[in-house]
Amino acid sequence: MRRLWTFFRRFLVHRKILFAGFLTIPLGSLADIWLTLEIGDGLNRLRNSDDTTFLRGLFFSLVAIAFVRGVFRFLQRWWIVGVSRRVEADLKQDLFDKLASLPFAFHNKSRTGDIVSRLTSDVENIRMFLGPGMMYVLGALTLVPTSLFVLMRLEPRLVLFMLLPIGLMGLGVRALVPRLHRISTQVQESLADISHHAQETFAGVRVVKGYGVDAQQVGRFETASRENRDHQIRLSRVRGMMDAITHTAFNLTFLPILFVGGMAMIDRSLAAGDLFKFIDLTLKVFWPVISLGWMAGMYPRALVSAERIDTLLNERAEIEEGAGTRELDEVRGELALQRVSFLYPDTSEPALQGVSVQIPAESSLGVVGPTGSGKSTLLNLLGRMFDCQGEIRLDGVPIRDLSLSSLRGAIAYVPQDSFLFSETWRDNVGLGAPDGELSDERLQELAERACIAEDVAGFPDGYEQLIGERGVTLSGGQRQRTCIARALAKDPPVLVLDDCLSAVDTETEAQLIHNLRAAGQGRTVVLAAHRLSAVRHADRILVLNGGRVEAQGTHGELLDASPWYRETWDRQRAEEELEELS
């Protein structure tokens, strides 16, 4: 409960509206009861007079009370549910801000689906419980006791008899809850089985079809589906029992009304209008009582959700907090790595081991090596996406001592996955620009340097072309070149490119490298590549293998010094030759 309280405090931010909303709840309930009492008293009056003129007045006062009640009910929903939506928005924004600030190490280990579900279903569970849920509970908690109080004053014996079936209902429902839970779990599991089986068959369709075992798979699916059907039917049995118990208990409250109330009427201690009050109020409290049961069911879920959200909100932004505050005024771009080692969490093999390399300002470094040799990891460490062992210095200052904005401000980065937003081409490139804005001339210049100007000119909307599902889908090469334009827009002292030429053809690659070398004048360039032709002109090339530096030197030196480099070079040349044959 304490956990939920921290979320309820978010509701209290809007306390004026919230309390006004809370106030309308008992007022609405009172109006509701008042309506019943008015009618009951009216019926009583019929016995005592022959005058029917009061009925007209009664009708209009009923309409008036109903209207006031309606206003209360409207305000109650509008205010309380409205606040709950406002809190939802605040909470989502806080969670989003938190996510944006959490270090990459966090994102690297968490699954997107899990995080999205925290921001969707978990937030919704809490909103439902603390917002509309609280509204229903307060409604029930004001309506039910007040009704009981009113009825007690009319005929206390009758009220006691009526409570009997309600108490039995509570016992019956409680006895069924564990069964309901158990069978619900079985239903969920069998549904998961169906979905798992379907998933597996669809994913393994080549084996299923290749072996001609379609019928066998259908048989397995049918078994899973049948099992689910049987569990579902068992679930409907328990649900049916619950349903029968609650409704029967409710209906049985009318038994004492009939018998005890009837007797009271016979011995004239109860008038017909009073009997009406019993009937009408009982009809009115049924759904509020049931809603209390729903809320009890929602509570554990809300609690779990609160915990999941809390965990996320309390996640530490380690790198952010551990970052220094030093700012570099003018970055020259000299990088030095000293015995850098890195181990990904939950792995045993280090991704990098004792890597040392000097990258003088305004020089270029190529990083090559087989898949999984640590190229991307090395590049990620430069922008401090992870903290490593050993030391990385920028212009002689350990990057740990630099503020994150100073460090990352000095680096422009082209990721391996060529990630782009589903925004316009201009916005995507503008993301790199320091102020986010780019003039048309600058945009044109960047597009040309990234060898994508022609492609952009071919888009229906040019620079304003929307990228992604709702716009145009870019080819892998177009994405990579857009990412390069984005990085160049930053005009950085250090340019880090992670295998960003893999999807462009050989001809464009040569042109791009030419442009990048021109753009690289006056900056430090670190370029990881799979194809050696991309790095052959670099001032220095680092060959990584299994996280260690196998060799370093210029292209010419490595051809002699590194057998891996030599073989890969030959092989790639041969592949190119083969490619050129037609």
């Binding site: 009923l62 999205v116 589906s225 349903d243 038994l255 401000g409 041969a574």
Partner: protein, 620 residues
Amino acid sequence: MSGYTEAEKEVIATKAWDTALLKRLLGYAKPHKWLFFQSFLVILGLFALDLAGPYVLRRAIDGPVAEALVEPESGEVLADAAVPEDTDEQLRRLGLHALLYLTIMLAAGGFRYLQAVQLGRTGQAVIHDLRTHLFRHMQRQDLAWYDARPTGALVTRVTGDIENLNELFTSGLIVLVFDFVKIFAILAILFTLDSQLALFVLALTPLLVVTSLGFRGGARRAHRVVRARLADLNGYLQEVLSGIRVVQMFRREERVAGRFAGLLGSYFRANLRTILLFALFFPSIEFLTIVIKGAIVWRGGSSILTGALTMGVFFQFWFYLQHYLNPIRELGERYNVMQQAFASSERVFHILDTEPEVGPPAAAKRPEPFRGRVAFDRVSFSYLEGTPVIEDISFEIPAGDTVAIVGATGAGKSTLVNLLLRFYDPSAGTVSIDGIDLRELDPTEHRSHLGLVQQEDFLFTGTVRENLALGRASVSDASIARALEVSCAGDVVRRLPGGLDAEVAERGVTLSTGERELLAIARALAADPHVVILDEATSSVDSGTEARIEEATHNLLRGRTALVVAHRLSTVRRADRILVLHKGRLREQGTHEELLEQGGLYAKLYALQFRDADDTARAG
């Protein structure tokens, strides 16, 4: 994710009533009409019992209670008046009424239970049929169909969408039909109770219906906006999460947070609109209800006074009014269920209406006896029109021979495999086996003659035994044992806890790449196929495993017709013939030695792909 564009989804979502669709859905209900009939009987019984309760109450009040009350001549009710001596008789009759009421309510409880069970059984029966039918149909689809759709979306069709249809059959259709029955039945009863009051109710009903329907339209539009805004919001969240590295490297945290705030704002405003609608709707309906009830009190009160209406009938009327108003109020809710179900059924039927292109012919031929001579005759194929993957390829594999295909990545090697498996039909030319065009064979039957070993062969959840047998009738324990020995996978299985009964895949033991490859060969050998299709793995394994894989491959190919996408030197060396593919064309063919001598493409490829292995072999 669902395999539909946004625009398509929108069109689908707007449909709320579709008679043709409904008719088709009812087709699935037909085999279970007895269950549906029973459901109606149960609902009818419950309805009658629910109505019987208030009737007994009325009889009690108008009977014993009223008789006891009219005893004093004056007709005045005085609380302190002496109670007449002979109320015992009335009390006894009151007791009988109470007993009757108790019986009826207990019976109603039983019927309520039956109703839930009956609806559950009925819905589930239809759903199970539909789900299996859908799955079977999906299984028949072409590989191209699968390639074009994300697996997740396909899974949703047989899970989420089918669940929605369950709602349609149970809480949607049956209840909706019965709600109408209830509304008219009660109205009729109200007329028999007191036609004047019933007329009032009838006159005021349109107000209620108009409000309910008017709200329904507004709520639907508002909900659609909320859903669209939420989709935008969640979409953006996912996008930022997957691009968080770029966001952080470029220090654009504030920019994305600002954009998120904007989307959140429009989502929030869309929500406010629905809250406003609902906040207006519920109180309005309740207000109208009270107006109707107020009118009943007004007119009914006068009738009671004149003696035209008894107190008991008034109470009965009051109860029935509740039964009458509830379904009208819930019309909107039913409507939502129907709408969702229609959207789902449209997606389901969309799949059921898709017929696979590669299917069995009307009268499938069978090669008798099966020899396994494979022939490609001037075969071309393109996935996309205008960009051929292979062109004009002809070759033959005499029964029992091994043909190896080599070529660079993208040369079209796996396309040849896919064509022989008849995953696709060629755009031109024919593929035949024992002289019969594959198109004249039943594809499933045809594939069951083939032994397939794929790269990174797929393992299903289950035991090793199940994975080797794949439910094939031709595979026995004895043939599995033989296959394991021949494929050198016996040791792999013996090492596993539980042996053949060890669980693999997700929940089970992990196997190395080499072990999986051996098991894949065993899987193919288990049915002792005439024709083998082998797509060799490229990943490297340790030398011990490598030797076992080579031996297993040798045993697999011996005496069988084989088409091999070769990556191992030992395989190409042993092949009766090597086909060299380049950019979709057959460029060279011959034996290893012949081709090396030619010094053409094969020599180059050999240098690229096989030389390392050759060096190691020679060094070892």
